[in-house]
């Protein structure tokens, strides 16, 4: 059993240093939270580096990172674990959360607001000074080892009233706010991630920044750093710049014809 667990955990260990450029002191705060056994809440728009930060932190701490992408059908059993039948025998299978608690890994619940509110309550005893996970089905109470860390992320930009974090959940975390990096930093990230030259990287970052200014004009969210990198990849694959920006970036942002026309004008001004 222990061997099997180790095997499963090894899959989650990050051996190569992930590329992450800090904006401010997020790494220090992340490390301090880890030392003091505090859970982390990462908030920020899509594609701005939340998941990458967690990968980097896991690498720095040399701990496995178990990521769960939350969705509205996620049940408590999906997190904690369940009995399965094999060869006419029932055996218990740990869920990702239990696995992380037992092994002292980092459990990262991505887009936690997507999960049903009753599901997220299961993390409450893990996020205060108790740091324990009761597993009713097997009648056990796991105390989290000092290495265990819980992190959750969400995007406060969604305007839906129904997708917000309950205060009782929110107030248990050390919060790190992520945003799109400043132009200079974003340029470095794009260059590093995609291998594009500096001149083009500057222009792509500029285009993304322009789309972000349209947020108050009805664009739900501007182009993310991830989207820039994707677009650059299209360009490197031989697609001409204008088509790549259209398909890789702006068409993914909206269907509104006026906004699309305006963003088209931006592309033509830059390239």
């Amino acid at each position: 059993m222990n061997n099997a667990m180790e095997c499963r955990l090894e899959e989650h260990r990050i051996s190569v240093e992930p590329f992450f450029l800090p904006r401010a002191n997020e790494i220090e705060i992340g490390l301090a939270a880890s030392v003091n056994h505090l859970p982390l809440l990462l908030k920020g728009p899509t594609g701005c580096g939340k998941t990458r930060f967690m990968q980097y932190l896991a690498w720095r701490l040399n701990r496995p990172l178990i990521t769960v992408s939350c969705h509205d059908d996620l049940s408590t059993s999906d997190l904690v674990g369940r009995y399965l039948v094999k060869k006419n025998e029932a055996f218990w299978q740990d869920g990702p959360l239990t696995l992380a608690v037992r092994a002292g890994a980092i459990c990262y619940l991505d887009e936690i607001v997507e999960a049903r509110k009753d599901t997220t309550v299961v993390i409450h005893p893990l996020t205060d000074d108790r740091r324990e996970l009761p597993v009713e089905k097997i009648g056990k109470l796991y105390a989290a080892p000092p290495e265990f860390m819980l992190a959750v992320s969400y995007n406060p930009g969604y305007q839906s009233v129904l997708k917000d974090l309950k205060p009782s959940t929110r107030q248990r975390f050390v919060s790190l706010s992520f945003d799109y990096p400043p132009a200079e930093l974003e340029k470095q990230i794009v260059m590093r991630e995609s291998g594009i030259d500096e001149k083009n990287a500057i222009q792509m970052v500029k285009l993304a920044a322009m789309t972000r200014s349209l947020k108050e004009s009805g664009l739900a969210e501007g182009a993310s750093t991830r989207l820039i990198i994707q677009t650059v990849m299209l360009i490197k694959a031989g697609i001409d710049t204008v088509s790549a920006c259209r398909s890789g970036m702006i068409e993914s942002l909206t269907d509104d014809p006026e906004l699309l026309a305006a963003m088209d004008e931006m592309i033509f001004s830059l390239f």
């Binding site: 904006r23 839906s160 009233v161 322009m210 305006a262 033509f268």
Partner: protein, 750 residues
Amino acid sequence: MKIADQKKRFFAAVLPSRPDVWEVDEIFDQLAELDEATAEEILMQVGAIWPVSHSLCFAYLTHAARALSAELFSTELLGEWVRQILGLYESKGLLGARQFMADVDKFFLGPMRGEAGVAFTDISTRMVHYLRGISGRSFNFEEAQLPSTDTRTIYLPGSLEIFPSLEHNIFLYKFLISLQWGHVESRIYSEMSAPSRVRRPFFDRYPDGELAADLFSVLQFIHVFRFLETALPGLVRRGRELCVELIGKISLGGTARQRSAAFRHLLLQGVSDKENMHGASANESQLPGKPLADALHIPVFEGLPKIYEMFSGLSGTYTLGPAALLLGEFDFARAGETIRLRREEDKAQFVAMFAGLLDQQAARKDEEDKVGNVPDSVQQSLLLIGKQRNDPEKRSNTPILLDNEGLEVPEELAALIKAIEDDLGTLPEAYVQAAAGQAGRGVNRQEVEALEEITDSFVPAHVHSYDEWDYRRAGYRAGWCSLTEKTLPAVRSGFVAQTLRKYQPQLHKLRRQFEMLRTRYRYVRRRRHGDEIDLDAHIEALCDTRAGIAPSDRLFIQLLRDERDIAAMFLVDMSNSTEGWVGVAVKEALVLLADALEVVGDRYAIYGFSGMRRSRSELFHVKHLDEPYGGEVQGRIAAISPKEYTRMGPPIRHLTKKLQATQSTVRLLVVISDGKPEDYDDYKGQYAIEDTRKALLEARGTGVYPFCITIDKSAHDYLAHMFGRGNYIFVDEVLSLPSKIAEMYRLLTS
């Protein structure tokens, strides 16, 4: 007989108005000359125009009869013609619409034939977004003969017909807009409005001030052109040819030859591609080559005397022709005034926000010492911030922290500080000092006296009284406003039916989208009863049994409809500024929204608000939360009309109270307004914004989610502060309002 019948129907269509019979007779005399079907087509459009403006409707009937009897266009184009008339009425008023109607060939048929002229109104939405994107801030647009800007508004010609192709003319607009933005970015206006320069008109120091001003425009144009070359290379690559063509139009005929040739050469030098020198720039002028090239590469103010000297030796006059569009005009006095006003606004806003923050901080830090002064530690840390922020390298990455405990500055204030820093280079210490001075001053003496004068001894039972937030003393004026709830008398009209007809295609789409919200059936697993067996649950139960645990009896899958437990209240601004097209669009939006909401089944209410002074704030009931949507409610929607002022605080507080009383889990308050809150008394500017903001914060505090939809030509900076980032959208194209509101509601609640 037929005419009499049509006239009767006309009068029925415009109810409850009673137009002048003589005027109507005159129009019907003209219509009588047309065949019956054509007259019928013309009259069909009355329903769309009459509610917007009666005078416009009469003008339309006259011009339509004339145009169709002269067979200028066919009845199939009538709908499009009317759409354009209404669009123009919205942007340019009755006069603009009349001009449009008067020359059908030039304004309507010409563009349809693919003639190249383009009106700015046709591309304005796209350009607003474009400029917002490249500049990161919002500008207004206004019409003027030559392009110019006062750093807040960009003035442009109403239409352009310079090039033979439409595409090029549209591009020219975009290029001119980018140039004007470039002028603002070059900080030329901030420099020229500095007190040292304003004192003495700059160009007067040259013997020929006009020539100096023109040469300045040319140098500044070249300077911005080069800036755009790096900032927007794609634009300049396409724009260069266009510039060369425009510059080529500078006339070289007659006695004007010498100076004109020199201007032409200078401009061509300026826009030439450095790597690929333009052939046309061969030096026809008598300007010396190298000194000229050198003068173009130094700052404008240093280059001007040198260039002026070269030009003053040349003879003749010059006319720039269409190239003047590229150069535009510079009104430094106007820009200086705008900059001064903006800085004052920024300062006032900064001082108020920062002082508020300091007060909070002071109150938190030292309960006993809260009135009188700001604790020394805070003041010291303030000065520290001032100094830190003045170091540009540190500025970009350091979060602004107040005091050592690290109270982070709110997002809006941080954005404001950044705007001030971008403008002035640093955050002036005087601003910080002013805020520190204002903080902790507590209640303003004069206002206390004013407050004491108020003796509200009698408040009738149906009148609700509400507190109002006074940001200057960081406290409430107790029972300051009285709000009366009234029911809007329903009117009988074809407004709702017409709207539903007008938006038929959109409505179809909306209904479908909203149906998807409603019919979110989902399979719920692990139910005691259900339609199907839940295999997972069964296996689990089996496992549990084998493991010796009592199995669950929840073994079925049930198909359930998701309950949307939402109560939404729509609060509509009925101030007199909504008169005309905005008011109509809001009403149309309500009709579409009500229709869509009936499909989903959410509980919703509609109220309008207006009033005058704090003693008479009025809330008009259109539909209560659980009132059925029917003829009566439709009549009230049709009756919504502009009234008086926009005091937003009391109605927001009133509806918050109403929403609190509902049992729904999600409580939404949607405010639809057309701009700043304002009343007849001192409820305006910062005060009104702060009170509205406070009312919305109170709403949020009680679990009501407020969202605001603002209809305006451009987004203003105060919106984010007043509504909170992400809690509002602004709609600049009134025509798209009905679909935007419904779409926004859908996004908010899904």
